[in-house]
Amino acid sequence: MEPVYIEPVERERKYQRLAELGTRLKIPVTQAFLTLRVLDRNGQVIHHTKQRSHSWTRNAYQMLTTGIGGMRNSGTFADGSLATRNTAGSVISNVYLANTGGVSSNFNVNSEAIGKAYRGPNGDNVSGIVIGTGDTPESFNDFALAAALAEGTGAGQVNYMAGEPVVKSWDAGTRTLSVEHKRYINNNSPGTITIKEIGLIANGSQGTSLRALMSRDVLGTPVDVPASGQILAIYTISLIYPS
């Protein structure tokens, strides 16, 4: 079953115009989509939607700026400066480039391995795709979820599966490279959990280990995950290549 696409039509037109101009002018334009599918305990799909992810955070901008601009991630976490802020709230500022790949010697890190970049390990709620019950409005300066769900089986807790292997695809028609980041999250608690926010946290490095929230989406309509149910969250991030 295909997900219901819930992006408002007028806004979607703007995204499509943006993509068209990026291709024409040879300017790299990223796209991000969030797909959510919820199953009940019988495996029946009770929710399946897809929307644009609207909320790259300052961390993502800092990483892009330093990543292609060749600048240190130094200064403060504020306008005009290039530091990043980890999920604990600490501002990380030093001479190194920030990256999503993780810390290792000799820069020899597999970004697609579990525990690196966007693939959270099993039971880990501070990297990869995470969910929460907070509905604080999205802010460009978000660095953590408002109320991330803890790992566990108690009330208001979920079991985070390891992030799935990334899936890459190429659409020759739109000249778009897409990467799907997927994570299954199970509600093994005794009650329904109402999800209001989803985030994407990179497990990267900036001279030291860096957990950086790259995107946070507050759901327009909260999504219920019933007891013994499961939510599959997919961030599809794309880059449109020029011809």
Binding site: Y15, M63, L64, L177
Partner: protein, 247 residues
Amino acid sequence: MIYLEPAKQERLYRELEGLGDYLKVPIPRCFLQLRVTDRAGKITHHARQRSHSWIRNAYNLIASYLLGINAVGSWGDGTGTPIKITSGSVVSGSTLAALCRATITASGYSEDPQDVGKAYIAASGDNNHGIVAGIGAGAESFDDYAMSSICAEGSGANQLHYVLEEQPVLSWDAGTRTLTITHKRYMNNNSSATITITEIGIIANGAVAGGSGRKFMTARDVLSPPVEIPPSGQILASYVLSLVYPS
């Protein structure tokens, strides 16, 4: 300084940037500025234009960073995002690509992207790194990985002396919420004749596939019209990269 971008094209850039700002999608801007002075220090050319030519390496670098994937696969359309270095070799490995080796090793070794020899900060006399100039007329291509005909370091015919790249300058415009990084390099014509520059590029010294010291080009601009540097003259080439931040 003369702004060379055609008005119609400029309108499209501004529409793109306006949409990016509205939708909170990061849209990197890049401008190329050239200033030529003669032996007396008089400005003989001073122009600014859009840099039109992010090449595949730049896209693959962004894919590594924001899409969270390794720089693996084959060069070309598809799911591969490797890096092609200036020698023409494709470097592909299970790591992301970066402008600089960004981590600390067990021995405490570290790399600063603003150190000489790293990222875009080319050393004096190095024409395989940083901002470089050439006399080739090969048309711009998304798959460019080297200059068409780069000016060698020296003082002979069609040779330039490449000065140490300037430290990048970071600035913030609160009104437009724009963060700007300016990379600059002076190049001197110490030969006895005028050199006609037809292309400018920028080459990173980065890391991919577990190794650093990878020289890869990220943009190449063919100049129209070409720019002449008289003997004993100097060209200052600046790549001005900016990103509009949402409020």
